[in-house]
């Protein structure tokens, strides 16, 4: 048991949770304006590919992350156009974009890098680890919070930032209003479409960062379908957390912990196929406890009014 649970497991939880948390935060922006964004999986995958591509092209990590964000923003714009302008069903559009992302990244991987399955370059550097000096003084926290990339820290900052945005700022209040009753929002002169576009693009920003953390933070490589359902898990984390930043942090930590645990268990002569199931089994169990609270019901009922 001691072999299984130690501080380094929690350390890797903090790391593993980041892409899920970032994507969930992004998804919540969409959910809060009444759009259920199933495309998180695809958006993160595009971000992961964009980050590696940017790194290979420029060799500059900062630019690589920017390119990751840029490519996801383009992808999000497509999603926004389809759902808001063409009024397509958001689930169908989302699923289609997920397939598009999977196909497109695989295709580009083969044409640009001429490899199949995965691309990595030993010369390539991943995101650096930042250690916060004051945390290094405290014994337990030092182990928990060492060796994390800037994106990990950023994700936790975003939890606070998004909480303040939603519940304390004027812009956030209006964004929530659009999600709760788009017709009423329109009647008081809010630009509903503009706000919905902004929310989807904001989601794209978060998913770009999630992708960069996945391909440049956790590892330094891109492999086909490397998101492995994390976008969907983020979706569940979002629903479980009621699109509430703090709630999403809690649910993401749960899934991140399962993710970390499944990797740890692989070292313990438990068949990998079982251990890899762990996060997904947890997702299914979580769905049992998930109660559809009124606000999500509202967004569903009102989406037709868009």
């Amino acid at each position: 048991m001691e072999q299984l649970f130690d501080l380094s497991l929690l350390n890797s939880t903090v790391r593993m949770v980041t892409p899920i948390l970032l994507a969930a935060l992004g998804g919540s922006l969409c959910a809060r304006v009444g759009i259920f964004n199933v495309a998180l999986e695809g958006l993160v995958l595009v971000g992961a590919f964009g980050a590696i591509l940017g790194n290979a092209l420029t060799g500059n990590l900062f630019l690589a992350v920017l390119i990751a964000i840029g490519s996801v923003l383009l992808f999000s714009l497509l999603f926004a156009y389809i759902t808001i302008h063409l009024r397509a069903n958001e689930i169908v559009a989302g699923v289609a974009l997920n397939f598009l992302a999977a196909g497109l990244t695989t295709f580009l991987l083969r044409t640009i890098f001429s490899v199949k399955g995965a691309y990595y370059d030993n010369e390539m550097h991943g995101l650096p680890a930042w250690d916060l000096p004051f945390l290094q003084q405290i014994p337990v926290l030092e182990q928990l919070f060492s060796g994390h990339t800037p994106l990990v820290w950023l994700a936790y900052l975003f939890v606070i930032g998004l909480h303040l945005f939603y519940f304390k700022s004027v812009a956030g209040s209006r964004l929530l209003a659009v999600g709760e009753n788009p017709v009423a929002a329109q009647s008081i002169g809010l630009k509903v479409r503009k706000i919905q576009y902004a929310a989807i693009l904001g989601c794209g920003l978060f998913c770009g960062l999630a992708g960069a953390q996945l391909s440049l933070g956790q590892v330094t490589m891109f492999s086909e379908g490397m998101t492995a359902g994390r976008g969907y898990i983020a979706l569940v984390a979002m629903m479980l957390g009621q699109s509430n930043p703090v709630g999403m942090l809690a649910s993401s930590l749960l899934f991140g912990f399962m993710d970390a645990l499944s990797i740890r268990l692989q070292g313990l002569s438990i068949p990998t196929h079982f251990t890899l199931m762990l996060p997904y089994v947890m997702t299914v169990i979580a769905m049992f406890f998930f109660r559809d609270k009124s606000y999500l019901k509202n967004t569903g009922a009102n989406s037709s009014a868009r």
Partner: protein, 502 residues
Amino acid sequence: METILEMERITKKYGQFTANQEISFALREGEIHAIVGENGAGKTTLMRILYGMEQPTSGTIRIHGAEKRFANPAEAIDSGIGMVHQHFMLFPSRTIAENIVIGNEPRKSIWFDRKQAIAQVGALAERFRLPIAPGQKVGDCPLGTQQRVEILKVLYNGAKIIILDEPTAVLTPLEVKELLITLRGLAEQGKSIILITHKLHEVMEVADRITVLRNGRVTGQLEASQTTVEEVSRLMVGRELDGIRRETQQAGQPLLQVNRLFIRGKKGKPLLDHVSFHVRSGEIVGIAGISGNGQSELVQALTGLLPVDEGTVLLQGKEITNRSVKQIREAGLAHIPEDRYLWGTAKEASVKDNAIMGHHRLKEFQRGGILRQRKLDQLVTGWINSFAIKTSSLANKAQNLSGGNLQKVIVAREIGHATPFLLACEPTRGVDIGAMEFIHQQLMDKRNRGEAVLLVSSELSEIMTLSDRILVMFEGKVVGELNAETATEEQISLLMAGGKQP
């Protein structure tokens, strides 16, 4: 009094159809001006033009003598016009204060200053004597309060002219009284109010002047103090209303017997608390009460939509307690549901499909399991003619019909079942007087044929016109039974508010 708003020779055409034909009207400062007319008379179009939601084909709008054009509602709001919509534009999960200030929030840099919002809204509410609790969630408020929130929202945005579109449609009688007092108060403080409605008693009570529209034209402009309900309704409908023909007759055997019906509630308070009554053949029994006092539950229990915990319901001597809807209907019950969109119709389906619901089960309309469409068409066309339902075709979607016409479809269908017992809930909600009179006559005819009707309505005047006996419900109990001939409105109101039977 000074004239604040003039609309002159406003015409609005949609293709061939003329919604407004050279309508002129003037609004004085501090007056309540009612615009009345049946559905489709052009009231709403005229107000949409004033509020910048539509552009007139011709005609001018002047405010304080200056000509104005409103390309969108925001421009109308800037000119001091505010609109309280019939369907509230509110955010139920937000507080009252947040709902009022949204779009114009008090702020500290980018942050929403909620304390300031509550203070401002509190001061505004006090100034206009509209009691509300700024920190309360709108979703927890009764509809009357929600409407006050809408009015305050308009006042917060600095409106001098306030348009209210059918403001009393969703309110209880007590809330209506409060609203009318509020409107008087606002007018005394110098606000000018346009009241769109078809409820003439309210108009006579509160309005200074009345403009009557019919088929897109002005058919009369009257001082409220110098006219009568009869005169206004004649101008509205374009003919004399006949009034309801009631034949005196002896009620027969009990058809529906309800014995000690009980439904447990969630918070220990029963939804229905041992309700007992009966309805005899040849009579209309009215159930009065402020909505939310168990009437909906009673209706759903009788029709099989809600299971009951205790008690029995007998229809023609046959027990129908907790049977399926189909079994209950086969036992001889027809049902005009209280919400025509939720329970009464399938909005996306055609008028015909909606009209034949239930009838499609009958043998005479089937051949080997296949519906006999031609025969059904005849049936529905017959109703469309006899009920004067305005629809472009049988295949027209139900949601394209006006509320009154859709209600007629439901009434035709349910009366067409020719059952010995009819449960009619809010049969004329949102229906104009012409259609209302017609529906009332249908219910009365059913009674006169020796069948039984249970009428559930929040409209006291409806209950008093039609019923032979009146039951009053309060908090899930029947708190009083009155003879309709001797009962007064005051008596019933008192019982509805929880007072004891005198």
